[in-house]
């Protein structure tokens, strides 16, 4: 009964209130000075853009870390060309990277990419900017919390970067920070935990805001089954963030106490380090950390990929000029994915000796969770069938997402089965697998989203030629980077080798691939310069859009002025139809906006 009321189209937004907001905000906007309008703004679009630009910078920084690391893997023991001297003797003695610094780079690359780059981009930036517009809301439900969320995120990011300058350097125990190694690491690890607490707080504020906004601020007639798929992906993602992050915070608190006041939560009895027994009370459990960490860690994967799927769904529907195939099925699948993602975490721990019964359970749930992902991917493929596809830049990125995500997902199956995982665990195969999910697929979805929504907020399109010049080499080099890793991993190359596996005779056949991967990674970095140039040039010189809806789209974010004012909509949108009514038979044009009577 309650559910029925929830999805019935009787969601009435009082007209007076909403129009009042618009008038108020217009007067209000003029009064705001520069600082309140662009820096300490409570407007969801400004906050989203702040999130986006900051996260893109972090993404570039995290990418730069791995570019330096790849030198050591390709040419172990050789001085890094001009950068080696800049790093100083503590990090690179005589220009040759030290093992400690190599470990710092590895741990911080993972942390920065996941927590400071990708998640803030898909949730903080795209979620913040696009979601309220798509549901016809004037802003997020709690604008001040939204602003706080950004500033806490920035503080966390600065803390993380700052940890490089701590004595002993940044965190160096991998992005997973497994104890007892992480408990014994230098002070950078403590700073890492503090940074994580900021980031967890920030994402908590953001996620609560997203859920409340979607439930409470939908426009009149915007029922749950009329929500664009992107909004659904944000809703499920926000629930994952609210429920999965706190256990990591708990784990962080425990590790902080272990490190600072000498408790033994993660320290087993009788631990001997460098021949010396440790002076601790003992009785702790190292597996406890892994359970708490991966309880966040696995939903985190879906936090990253679900909004990516949402972005791709929007772009696909718009550029095939036909409705998404199986919208309802996709919605049910994504909700199911959200639930099941909470009970698959220990497939990261098959090798810990936790027992066959537990392994069997987590192996089964892992096989089950692949089903809804495949359903969504299949729906994308069928959506293409019979469409008159427009091959513009956003569409190219969205199309590339499908095979790239398929490779990433399917190569994950052998890792989800305990028997094969025991061989593949911690090899380059794992690196190849999850990078296919987050790099060529998710980052392509992000690029697609940037190319797609750029005109709405700047009034100019990104250059198409430069866009294609960015896309094709990126696709090529991405595969050149990650495909060889499968071969290396199958040959048995461990992911944590400082010298790239030089000392192991059995790695002889695949060692040359290290150089190929490194050259490709550097080339990939060079290609991204085209994107940066395109972004900056188009901001000021790009082709101006002639309408508020340059892609002829149906969803509500395009039915606003360009750029949308504070308060978003000039007149209250009333939603009369589903999100993807393209090429409706008998309609006067090939798209019917959601708010069109």
């Amino acid at each position: 009964m309650k559910l029925k009321r929830l999805i019935s189209p009787s969601a009435v937004l009082p007209k007076k209130i909403n129009q009042g907001i618009i008038h108020m905000s217009k007067n209000h906007d003029a009064e705001l000075g520069f600082w309140r309008k662009y820096v300490f703004s409570t407007d969801h679009k400004v906050i989203g853009i702040q999130y986006g630009l900051t996260a893109l910078c972090f993404l570039l920084f995290g990418f730069a870390l791995i570019l330096v690391m790849r030198w050591q893997l390709a040419f172990p023991g050789e001085p890094i060309p001009w950068l080696g001297k800049l790093l100083g003797e503590g990090r690179a003695a005589g220009g040759v990277m030290l093992p400690e610094f190599y470990n710092e780079l590895g741990a911080m690359h993972g942390t920065i990419m996941v927590f400071l780059g990708v998640v803030p981009l898909v949730v903080g930036a795209f979620g913040n900017i696009v979601m309220p517009l798509q549901i016809g809301a004037p802003d997020m439900a709690f604008p001040k919390l939204n602003m706080a969320s950004y500033w806490v995120f920035l503080l966390g990011g600065i803390t993380m970067i700052f940890s490089f300058f701590m004595p002993g350097g940044a965190a160096s125990s991998g992005w997973t920070s497994y104890p007892p190694l992480a408990n014994l690491a230098t002070v950078g690890q403590t700073v890492w935990i503090l940074g994580m607490v900021f980031l967890i707080t920030s994402s908590l504020l953001g996620a609560i805001n997203v859920i409340v906004t979607i439930f409470q601020l939908r426009a009149e007639g915007m029922t749950f089954m009329r929500l664009p798929f992107f909004v659904w992906s944000q809703l499920v993602t926000a629930f994952l963030l609210v429920l999965a992050f706190p256990p990591l915070e708990a784990a962080g608190i425990l590790q902080l106490l272990d490190r600072v006041i000498g408790t033994s939560f993660f320290m087993p009895s009788g631990l001997v380090v460098s021949g010396e027994p440790l002076d601790i009370s003992g009785g702790g459990s190292v597996l406890l950390w892994q359970h708490l960490f991966w309880f966040l860690g696995h939903p985190e994967v879906y936090v990253m990929i679900l909004p990516g799927m949402g972005i791709v769904a929007e772009i696909l529907a718009n550029n095939t000029r036909k409705p998404l195939w199986g919208y309802r099925t996709m919605v049910y699948s994504i909700v199911f994915l959200g639930f099941v993602s909470f009970i698959v975490w220990a497939h990261h721990m098959f090798l810990t000796g936790m027992g066959t019964a537990l392994s069997g359970f987590f192996q089964a749930t892992t096989m089950i969770i692949s089903v809804p992902s495949v359903i969504i991917l299949t729906a994308f493929c069928i959506s293409l069938w019979g469409g008159s596809i427009r091959f513009n830049t956003p569409m190219l990125f969205a199309l590339a997402f499908i095979p790239m995500f398929a490779i990433g997902g399917l190569t994950g199956l052998p890792l989800g089965i305990a028997m094969t995982d025991i061989y593949l665990h911690d090899t380059y195969y794992v690196i190849g697998h999850f990078h296919y999910v987050v790099a060529p697929s998710l980052i392509f979805a992000i690029f697609g989203g940037i190319y797609y929504w750029f005109p709405k907020f700047t009034g100019r399109k990104l250059n198409e030629f430069l866009g294609k010049l960015h896309f094709w080499p990126s696709l090529f080099f991405m595969n050149c980077v990650f495909m060889p890793m499968f071969a290396q991993g199958l040959a048995g190359m461990s992911r944590r080798l400082y010298d790239g596996g030089e000392t192991y005779a059995f790695l002889e056949p695949v060692i040359a691939l290290n150089k190929m991967i490194s050259y490709s990674a550097w080339a990939l970095a060079a290609v991204q310069v085209i994107f940066i140039i395109n972004f900056l040039w188009s901001l000021f010189q790009g082709e101006k859009v002639t309408s508020d809806n340059p892609w002829d789209s149906t969803t509500l974010e395009w039915q606003t002025p360009t750029p949308p004012p504070h308060g978003n909509f000039l007149t209250l949108p009333v939603v009369c139809r589903g999100p993807y009514e393209y090429s409706v038979p008998g309609a006067s044009k090939d798209y019917s906006p959601q708010n069109e009577k």
Binding site: S10, L204, I211, V212, V242, L254
Partner: protein, 197 residues
């Protein structure tokens, strides 16, 4: 910027924004304490017979008295909300005042308890039981302090809103009350788990 449904509930969800917000926040808090309780379970199962009985280390009567204090404070918290519904600001001030005092009393007693442990060289680094005891009760005490700050604000300067927007102020007390009940509830789990089992 004026956001719809900050005072009146939305018709189809039956909630105003802040109420949904606080429930979600409490859900995340359940997961935070849930994580720590799981840690307790795993550590205890791992320790086997070496795990001490709580009562042999901790002072049960003091813990029970503190439980009583918190339950009473939950009650006065509800009374203060009811008082606002009855448009009786004096009764609100009285009940909210008692709530804050009870919470402060809880902290003072907890402080004496901590002090007694420290004076016997019982630090968190001495055993895993003491470590999880201090972590759980310490985090809970931080939540109590947060609750006292919020309640004191509504009792003092925040009360001004009653004259300009009484309905919204009443909602704020309801929200603060939901949080306070949660903090109370956490203690009701903590007390038997740490002191009695």
């Amino acid at each position: 910027m004026l956001i719809p449904y900050t005072v009146k509930p939305r018709e189809d969800t039956g909630m105003y924004n802040a109420k949904l917000g606080i429930w979600l926040f409490l859900a995340s808090e359940v997961m935070l304490f849930g994580g720590l309780f799981s840690a307790y379970v795993i550590l205890r199962v791992g320790a086997g017979d070496a795990w001490p009985v709580g009562a042999s280390i901790l002072n049960v009567p003091i813990g029970a008295f503190n439980t009583l204090l918190l339950i009473t404070s939950s009650l006065t918290m509800v009374f203060s909300w009811i008082a606002l519904k009855q448009k009786n600001l004096d009764k609100f001030k009285r009940n909210m005042g008692i709530t804050i005092l009870l919470a402060l009393a809880f902290l003072v007693i907890k402080g004496f308890e901590y002090n007694a442990k420290f004076s016997h060289q019982m630090f968190p680094s001495k055993s895993t039981f003491l470590a999880i005891y201090f972590t759980l009760t310490g985090l809970h005490a931080l939540h109590i302090i947060g609750g006292i700050i919020v309640n004191a604000y509504f009792w003092g300067p925040g009360r001004k809103m009653w004259y300009s927007d009484p309905e919204r102020f009443t909602n704020r007390i309801e929200i603060a009350g939901l949080y306070w009940h949660f903090v109370d509830l956490v203690w009701i789990f903590l007390f038997p788990v740490l002191y009695l089992l």
